[in-house]
Amino acid sequence: MEIKDIEYEPLLPIEFTRPLETIDICIASIEPKKTNDILKILTSKLSLNDMNIGHLKRIKKSEKHDKLLDVIINVSTDTTKTETELKEIFKNNNINEDAIKDFRLCKASKHPAYTKSQFSEWKNVWPMIFKDHDSQHNLKLSDEDIQNIKKWCSVALKKAEEDKQKNPDNKYNNCTVIVNPTSQEALAIETDNRIKANHPLKHSVMECIKTISDIHNGKDHINIETGDSINKKRKLNEEIDSSQPYLCSNYDLFTIKEPCIMCCMALVHSRIGRVFYIEKNDRDGGLESIHQIHIQPELNHHFQVFKITLK
């Protein structure tokens, strides 16, 4: 089956997709000449990081008071109390309390911006610091990636179709391919074997993980594309040189149906690199339908997920 074109959608953590949410911050206006002294005190007594607003800039030019600067004091809404306490600290540090005035509330973004578009919108509320997570997460797929996705998705679809011919009653019809992204070699191509093996856990993802472990254990493996029997362990070792392959580290996985919760956690345990799938699995999908296991913050491994639409 020839795939002409695809669209892709990365399944991202909430940080990348959420809209602007604001919080109230307490600010005051200060004399530019006193900035250094005042900042020294604020940084040591009221650090932005400690208040979970490390993504905000401390100071900006005041729009309200000509020639003054606006500075973030804290996240308390009780401005009177904040003013009293801060002026007390100023007194103890020999700073004239007239150097700071007009304690008031102001809005700012509650969360750090993860994308450029979030940043360009949110910084208008209160200036922010931007760390470019966009490029760090490699969310734009290259032309080469797109070509490879087309190739491996069509391999999976073809294999699933062949399996359907052989087992027309298999309601779990699916196929998964695990590929070494560097060599673009398919290491495992497996169908769903629940019905064939009368085993409710033999999903195609689990079967692929098993195949990879067989390869790492040095078992001969038939290359489904060419029909050749090859000893992958030798190949893998040559390829990766001194570093031993660890489970499915950095491998790409292509599958037709969104993997179920069991399979998604199996992929966490296997340290998979990226997952590409075509169809949503409303019943028990673990990437978008029931849970988002690939971005569950409490787990020790995360992987990138792209949902692929065939055109």
Binding site: M206, M265, H269, E298
Partner: protein, 199 residues
């Protein structure tokens, strides 16, 4: 990093779990029965420990008889999914049809991970007893509540925890002060000390 499993588990596994839900049904196993099978699960866990695997073990019981047992084999198989529960299920399915699991009770030393918790649901096991919680990967209360969450077509299953919990925790602690040589970057753990107090 991984030794958080047992340390954190201490905070959430209440001993009271045992008595609280035990009177609800007259089909419940007696405490002696539960302890007997949990002891068998611990023997499996010890076997894993002796083989330098994460010490988790389990047994599946049908009509008061063990029909399957397993322990972690992730290092030996170079397959991160070969947990005790999946090993035991494979053993059972060599002899029985999958339907038999619907009548089985699982005794496992540590809370099933998310993968195993979902697998137990796919197999529709009747009930699960476990020793200590697994705060890092647990799918029956720690990270997700897959045993009674509303999803899929398979029924949820009952859980009870806290049985022989201290033994399960101590075995994990003993394991995690050794080094996992199969991890990508082995951590130096020579400075670790075995804690013996259990809160």
């Amino acid at each position: 990093m991984e030794n958080k499993i047992e340390n954190k588990a201490i905070n959430i596994t209440e001993k009271n779990d045992i008595s609280s839900s035990n009177n609800n049904s007259n089909e419940e196993e007696s405490n002696e029965t539960i302890e007997k099978f949990m002891r068998e699960a611990l023997i499996q866990a010890q076997d894993a420990y002796d083989a330098c695997e994460v010490p988790v073990g389990c047994v599946f019981v049908l009509n008061n008889e063990i029909i399957g047992k397993g322990r972690n084999r992730t290092n030996e198989t170079k397959n991160g999914t070969r947990h005790a529960e999946l090993e035991a299920i494979d053993m059972i399915l060599k002899k029985y049809s999958p339907e038999v699991l619907k009548e089985c009770t699982l005794y496992v030393t540590v809370e099933p991970c998310i993968m195993c918790a979902a697998a137990l649901r796919l197999m529709q096991v009747k009930k699960v007893y476990f020793g200590c919680h697994n705060e890092r990967f647990g799918g029956c209360g720690s990270i997700y509540h897959l045993h009674n969450e509303d999803y899929g077509e398979n029924r949820s299953y009952e859980i009870e925890c806290g049985y022989l919990r201290e033994e399960a925790i101590m075995m994990l602690r003993k394991f995690y002060i050794r080094e996992n040589k199969n991890a990508p970057v082995p951590k130096k753990k020579s400075n670790r000390v075995l804690k013996t107090e259990i809160i």
